[in-house]
């Protein structure tokens, strides 16, 4: 048995080892870095001149920074979905997707915490959260649960990486010496003994069990940042479930996109097969239907009653100022992807990829629609304020910082895939042994 699979193992290893950036990779990384640099410059301007460089004012005091934060938090849920839920449910086909999902989760949650600091009026006082922190504030809950989620996700990325690190260390010739130092730093203690294997498996299992409640907490708490206020559009008991279902959807959509890109760029057709697109497509349909259901709850129920406080908010969304964006988010984020992915042909890689992009873009605008229009509809009229306070369109600095943070998250994923195998090598080999096919 050993001899019959040696060749396959080598092929797998060679296929999956990290590869140098090609010309396309260089251009891609260059563009991302350019976005980050522009974002960093915009943030420098903001530090110098205060939040006045943004278009936020007293009424819309949270803008695209906070919607971006909610988006990042949402997409990070994918880590626990693909890794934990599928692993505990003994779903084997998801193995090649676990690391993609985990790195999306880690980089998204990291940038979620960064963007929150960007939104602060006095970022240098961040330590006040620890000196004077008070537990009754939902912000403190968010700080605690985001930190916990970040570290669990990091461990869920690291532990399954250990067997692969051993392979990476041993293939020094292929990868070059500079990286090999990093691999040895991270994983030289890993000998791959049976005891270590057992410990690792148990650790991963425990993490998978822990991460699910933590993941539910992070989305619920983030929704509570809004739902604990009295504002029309936020004052909803539906918000926790609404956020979790939305987060599952955008995360799964993100994985569809990432799968397609990695498959194309690294020629992984043997590992990320059409079967994976088919299965992920089905999952996205299910999640989109679920999210659609919660959207109906969120909008239809108050719209049926049309309470006075809700009226301006809801008409603004359905037929008013925000109607184009609202209907775009509903159609692109849910309905069109459902129609694409419900058909077998729609679950082929390319259409699935397009559906994934629609889901992600729709989700970003959906987050904007959750945050901003509510703030423009306070209970009391907007009196005695300058005209600019009554509208909100992000300034270029805000766009630059928001786009910079998105580019930064993609950059982390790109570099990770450059340094580490994006599909687990050892697990793929093991599974080949178990099933014995291919």
């Amino acid at each position: 048995m050993e001899t019959s699979t040696t060749l396959t193992n080598e092929i797998i290893t060679n296929d999956l080892l990290p590869q140098k950036f090609g010309k396309r990779g260089m251009i891609w990384t260059g563009i991302l870095i350019a976005f980050c640099v522009v974002g960093a410059f915009a943030y420098y301007m903001q530090l110098k001149n205060g939040l006045s460089v943004t278009a936020m004012r007293d009424y819309v005091s949270w803008g695209i920074y906070i919607s971006n934060f909610v988006f990042f938090v949402a997409i990070s849920l994918v880590g626990s979905l693909i890794t934990a839920v599928f692993r505990l449910a003994n779903v084997k086909w998801s193995t090649p997707l676990t690391r993609i999902a985990e790195i999306i989760a880690v980089s998204a949650i990291f940038f979620a915490s960064l963007i929150i600091i960007v939104d602060m009026g006095r970022p240098e006082r961040l330590f006040n959260l620890f000196v004077y922190g008070r537990l009754q504030s939902p912000i403190m809950w968010d700080v605690i649960v985001i930190t916990t989620y970040f570290f669990i996700s990091l461990l869920l990325l690291f532990f399954p990486l250990l067997p692969d690190l051993k392979i990476l260390i041993s293939s020094k010739e292929v990868l070059g010496k500079s990286f090999s130092k990093l691999y040895r730093f991270l994983g030289s203690f890993w000998k791959g003994t049976r005891l270590q294997d057992k410990l690792n498996k148990r650790a991963v299992n425990i993490l998978c069990i822990i991460i699910i409640p933590v993941a539910f907490c992070i989305h619920t708490v983030t929704s509570w940042l809004f739902a604990t206020t009295y504002r029309p559009g936020w004052d909803s008991t539906n918000f926790g479930a609404y956020f979790i279902s939305g987060a599952f959807l955008v995360g799964a959509g993100g994985v569809l996109v990432a799968m397609y890109v990695f498959r194309k760029v690294y020629a992984l057709e043997k590992y990320i097969t059409t079967l994976h697109f088919d299965k992920m497509g089905r999952i996205v349909v299910l999640l989109a239907l679920l999210y659609l259901y919660f959207n109906v709850n969120e909008y239809l129920v108050p719209a049926f009653k049309m309470k006075k406080s809700e009226e301006a908010h809801l008409t603004g969304l359905f037929t008013g100022e925000y109607a184009p964006l609202f209907w775009f988010a509903i159609l692109a984020g849910m309905i069109i992807p459902i129609f694409i992915l419900i058909f077998k042909r729609g679950r082929n890689p390319l259409p699935a990829f397009i559906a994934g992009i629609l889901v992600v873009v729709g989700a970003w605008f959906k987050r904007f629609l959750i945050v901003t229009p509510t703030l423009l509809h306070p209970f009391l009229p907007m009196t005695d304020v300058p005209e600019s306070y009554k509208h909100y369109f992000p300034s270029w600095q805000e766009w630059a910082i928001a786009m910079g943070s998105l580019a930064g998250a993609l950059l982390v994923i790109t570099f990770f895939a450059r340094i580490f195998p994006i599909i687990p090598i050892q697990e793929t080999i093991n599974e080949q042994h178990e099933t014995g096919n291919k």
Partner: protein
């Protein structure tokens, strides 16, 4: 401590004793500062605390430094035995805006910032319009205080909700949480005179404003400490605002004083958005038997709008 130690070297024994007795503050008023002073021989006559006339060498006279009289923790507790309350009589309001001007001036607010907002209200299509000045409601269940992660906004024992601009991290959650939209943010570095900008910050005066932090109406606790009325109350020519203490059960606008409970009972006082359960400390008297027609305030309102554009 350090200041005391250095003063010990060669200064008068009385000053030393006083210095030690006055505690260890670095703003010690008894600290002579420059202790190498040589007597000039020129004597100044002063009145002592006992009522005797004494003489002190001119060289030893120092200007009294501006000393903060209250510590941050004292400011956080509030004024002992008080429960401040405000009553706003809508039947008297004509949208003059003197309250706003006085408030902005006293707190050195920047253009575009208003802690007092005078809303033109109409509850339903065919109901009578009226002017409704709003201040901070100083709620007894303040949503802003609940959500603040760092205790930068807090509720004092005397009922006042204040902000500590030296602690605020600028997350603006309190602004999202406040249903009365009374909170204002310092989006940029406030434009202040040098004298004001360098002033010692106190939560009670809310001066000077600081960039990246939230501010709002504070019921002027610094005036209350002096036994005076908030600026809006004394500035209003029509006596719209009444300020007082619930423990004493009296409110006054400077000219008239009422028993608070009687006033609320007789004129059917109410609070804004009672259904939210925030329990505001600001009571409104309904706009009935009005002193001015609503239209008389419109002129002021339109000029306001033109100015802001």
């Amino acid at each position: 401590m350090k200041n005391n130690d250095t003063s010990r070297r060669d200064f008068l024994a009385t000053a030393l004793l006083a210095g030690v007795a006055s505690g260890c503050s670095s703003n010690n008023p008894f600290d002579p500062g420059d202790n190498k002073k040589v007597p000039s021989g020129e004597m100044v006559k002063l009145l002592s605390v006992d009522g005797e006339i004494i003489e002190v060498d001119k060289a030893f006279l120092n200007p009294v430094p501006e000393v903060p009289t209250l510590t941050n923790s004292e400011e956080r507790i509030g004024i002992e035995g008080k429960k401040f309350v405000m009553v706003i009589d809508l039947s008297r309001c004509k949208n003059v805006g003197a309250c706003k001007v006085a408030c902005n001036h006293a707190h050195h607010l920047n253009p575009g910032q208003n802690w007092i907002k005078i809303h033109a209200m109409e509850d339903a299509e065919h109901t009578a319009p009226y002017w409704q000045p709003t201040t901070c409601m100083h709620c007894d269940e303040p949503p802003c205080v609940k959500v603040c992660p760092v205790d930068a906004t807090f509720k004092r024992k005397d009922g006042i909700v204040l902000i500590d601009n030296e602690r605020c991290i600028g997350c603006r959650f309190c602004m999202a949480a406040c249903p009365y939209s009374t909170r204002v943010f310092n989006w940029q570095e406030p434009i202040l005179e040098e004298k004001i900008a360098t002033q010692h910050y106190s939560c009670e005066t809310s001066v000077p404003q600081k960039i990246g932090t939230v501010s709002k109406c504070d019921f002027c606790p610094d005036m209350a400490r002096k036994g005076e009325l908030p600026h809006c109350v004394s500035a209003c020519p029509n006596g719209v605002y009444f300020f007082g203490d619930m423990n004493e059960d009296s409110v006054t606008n400077g000219a008239e004083t009422f028993r608070f409970s009687d006033l609320i009972k007789d004129k059917a006082g109410y609070r804004l958005m009672e259904d939210l359960g925030t329990k505001p400390r600001v009571y409104y008297l309904p706009p009935v038997n009005r002193n001015f027609p609503f239209e008389s305030g419109l002129e002021k309102d339109t000029t306001e709008k033109n100015n802001s554009k």
